[in-house]
């Protein structure tokens, strides 16, 4: 019986391919757009992920995102260090600035000041140079993409110079770091140096990075910091979540992507539904003949189920295959750097598309079930 169902399906090559194309394409569309969306919005958390040492971020009580905070006075660092359960705390400066490139263009940069002594906050993966080189006067470490934006062209990369707030800055290293949502150029430098690179007000410390003592729950320690100091303290995954929520709430991006995902879904449903119901309508005679020779409605349902499962399986497999090929081939480019394929999206897409195929199959078959076998022979 199953075999007959499959032969019936593959017998009409054009419709078969049409069905597979429809399913594959809507799978690709949904999976790929959802992945791009998740990754793009997820970039809002990259600044936090880039500091694997710290599990608590402390900031002004009104801060909402990594790029929007009020600086704190220096003594708040000591206050956070005094909270029980805090293993250590270091200052962290994040401020925007502008830099004139050697070619005369203007680039937005984020100057990130890391603790002078421990250098906590510098990304781990160095492409060139080393962490220790940051201790030199005027040393900055630039992210790979940003470096190419500021110094296009070839040549030795370490030792390039530029001017920041009338101070000389020397490239002492290049790091591999996933771009942030605003994707400005990232300049990492020591905290004391950053104070000179960015003209600013009296209070300069944007964040305090802290680590919960071993055996302490970071969320609990964060609550304690909030209670003791009146500042805002967030465990790092919560803080990533806050940043993503901020981006979702204050940009049109999620809305646009949501529309695309919905469109992919609608297109998929339309193609699959139409083709599948057409296919079943075309095979009405065959189903009628089957019923005439004594095949029950239940068996016919199983046959359609087998057919939908088959096309769903192949279509989804090809669609997800294409989606991951897309992600894999583009995640080394600057625009898609650091993008990855969450398995949840693939699983969810597969589930949704499979449900859609089965549902349209079951809808299309209603006519067959009501069919009187004698009809076919008239």
């Amino acid at each position: 019986m199953w075999w007959i169902a499959l032969r019936m399906l593959t017998g009409d090559r054009v419709k078969y391919l049409g069905l597979l194309f429809g399913i594959g394409f809507s799978t690709l569309l949904i999976a790929q757009q959802a992945t791009l969306f998740v990754n793009l919005v997820g970039r809002a958390g990259n600044a936090v992920w880039a500091v694997p040492e710290a599990d608590i971020w402390v900031m002004d009580a009104k801060a909402v995102a990594v790029d929007g905070t009020l600086p704190l006075p220096d003594t708040d660092l000591a206050r956070v260090r005094g909270v029980p359960g805090v293993l250590w705390a270091v200052p962290h400066l994040r401020e925007g600035g502008s830099v004139r490139t050697p070619e005369g263009k203007l680039e937005r940069v984020s100057v990130i000041g890391v603790d002078d002594a421990s250098l906590i906050g510098v990304p781990a993966r160095f492409l060139e140079g080393s962490r220790e080189a940051l201790r030199a006067p005027g040393a900055i470490v630039v992210d790979e993409i940003g470096f190419r934006r500021i110094f296009p062209g070839k040549g030795a990369r370490l030792g390039r110079e530029l001017e920041l707030n009338d101070r000389r800055a020397v490239v002492a290293g290049i790091v591999d770091v996933d771009p942030t949502f605003t994707s400005g150029v990232l300049f990492y430098t020591r905290y004391a140096q950053a104070l000179e690179f960015v003209p600013g007000t009296r209070n300069r410390m944007s964040f305090i990075l802290a680590r919960a003592a071993p055996g302490e729950d970071p969320r609990e320690v964060a609550r304690r910091i909030e209670a003791a100091t009146g500042l805002k303290a967030r465990e790092r995954t919560d803080w990533v979540g806050d940043n993503i929520d901020y981006v979702i709430a204050f940009t049109g991006i999620p809305f646009n992507f949501g529309i695309t995902v919905a469109l992919g879904f609608v297109v998929g449903v339309a193609i699959v539904g139409l083709t599948f119901s057409l296919f079943i309508r075309d095979n009405l005679r065959q189903f009628g003949a089957l019923k005439a020779i004594g095949v029950t409605n239940g068996q016919i349902r199983v046959m359609v189920l087998v057919q939908s499962a088959w096309i769903a399986l192949i279509g989804i497999a090809i669609g997800t295959g294409l989606a991951v090929v897309f992600i894999e081939s583009f995640n080394n480019t600057d625009q898609f750097k650091g993008f990855f394929q969450p398995w949840q999206i693939l699983a969810g897409t597969a589930l949704v598309v499979a449900l859609m195929v089965v549902a349209t199959g079951m809808l299309a078959i209603r006519g067959v079930l009501r069919l009187d076998p004698a009809e076919v022979f008239r």
């Binding site: 006075p73 206050r79 005094g82 104070l195 003791a228 399986l313 295959g321 294409l322 991951v324 398995w343």
Partner: protein
């Protein structure tokens, strides 16, 4: 291609796609695990995990910094010390050009010598007058001429005595002038006001130094010294934490950059005045809204690696737990 082969093309493609999807998806998320710090920032010692106050501060001499300037402005002729020297109280540190004062002292000395000679001369005259008067008195001839002569002699003696007194006063004046000139020379020398260590010498022979702060408000004292045995640390505590500090208890202090080399520092005193926190922003017009209490602690004699003026991180014992105890805690 056979019909059979063609039939399996799509399922094969599907298999490949599925395998790719699994391979990519299982490689999954980028590494987002918590990592350990390579260089540890200051960590509170085990004894202070529960109740503590943290602060930052500077290493300073026990006497604080003593900034020395000469009493009068002038050109430096001689610098007797180099940074790092131990000096005793009263030791000459630097000398200014004092030729004018020396010249005045020479003058005064000459005047004194002259005055002393004048005293001798006046004394000779007075003695001569006294002897002549005594001679006349012995003759006792009551004639008018003799009486006149006697009066003359008496007057001569009184005049001689007055001249002697004048000469002595002159000598006193010259001595005072000499003393004044010598004081003037002394004021052109800078001497150590206390025993201690020379920390900084900001002037060289030939340079002009001013008395007191240099014009323009930039304070560059000629010589900075201080008592460096023992060293003190001055810890800033945020004013909101003042009530929590357990005054009198020892603090755990580590130099900036070597957070693991913690030492225990003895409590010395609390500065009674709460002062504005110095924010190193390099801005001309700074407003301040953070004030700090300064606590002084003495580093142990054997503490190594603390340089004067260096920043330190400190943990101080607190009186009680950090204000409101965490929810759910016993």
């Amino acid at each position: 291609m056979t019909a059979l082969g063609r039939r399996w093309i799509l399922p094969l493609m599907a298999l490949v796609g599925l395998a790719l999807a699994f391979w990519v998806a299982l490689r999954g998320e980028p590494d987002r695990t918590i990592g350990a710090a390579r260089i540890l920032p200051p960590v509170a010692p085990a004894s202070l995990t529960e109740a503590r106050v943290a602060g930052a501060g500077l290493v300073e001499p026990a006497s604080e910094l003593v900034e020395l300037s000469p009493l009068v402005p002038g050109v430096v002729t001689e610098v007797r010390v180099v940074p790092g020297d131990r000096v005793v109280k009263g030791q000459l540190l630097l000398a200014l050009d004092a030729r004018d004062a020396r010249a005045r002292a020479g003058e005064a000395r000459a005047a004194l010598a002259y005055a002393r000679q004048a005293i001798t001369a006046a004394r000779v005259e007075r003695d001569a007058a006294a002897r002549q008067l005594a001679l006349l008195r012995r003759l006792s001839e009551p004639s008018a001429i003799a009486e006149t002569q006697r009066i003359d002699r008496e007057e001569a003696l009184r005049a001689a005595a007055a001249r002697l007194a004048l000469a002595e006063a002159d000598a006193g004046r010259a001595a005072a002038a000499l003393e004044s000139a010598e004081t003037e020379i002394g004021r052109r020398e800078l001497r150590a006001p206390m025993a201690g260590e020379i920390l900084q010498v900001r002037t060289r022979p030939g340079q002009y130094v001013t008395a007191g702060p240099a014009p323009g408000g930039s304070s560059t004292p000629a010589i900075t010294m201080g008592e460096t045995r023992p060293l003190h640390v001055r810890i800033d505590i945020d004013e909101t934490e003042i009530g929590r500090v357990a005054l009198g208890a020892a603090a755990i202090v580590a130099p900036r950059g070597r957070a693991t080399e913690q030492v225990e520092a003895r409590f010395v005193r609390m500065e009674p005045l709460v002062v504005p926190k110095r924010q190193l922003t390099n801005q001309a017009s700074e407003r301040v809204d953070v004030r700090v209490l300064q606590l002084i602690y003495a580093l142990p004699e054997d503490a190594r690696g603390f340089a004067i003026g260096q920043q330190v991180d400190a943990f101080l014992p607190a009186r009680g737990p950090a204000s409101p105890p965490p929810a759910g805690a016993p």
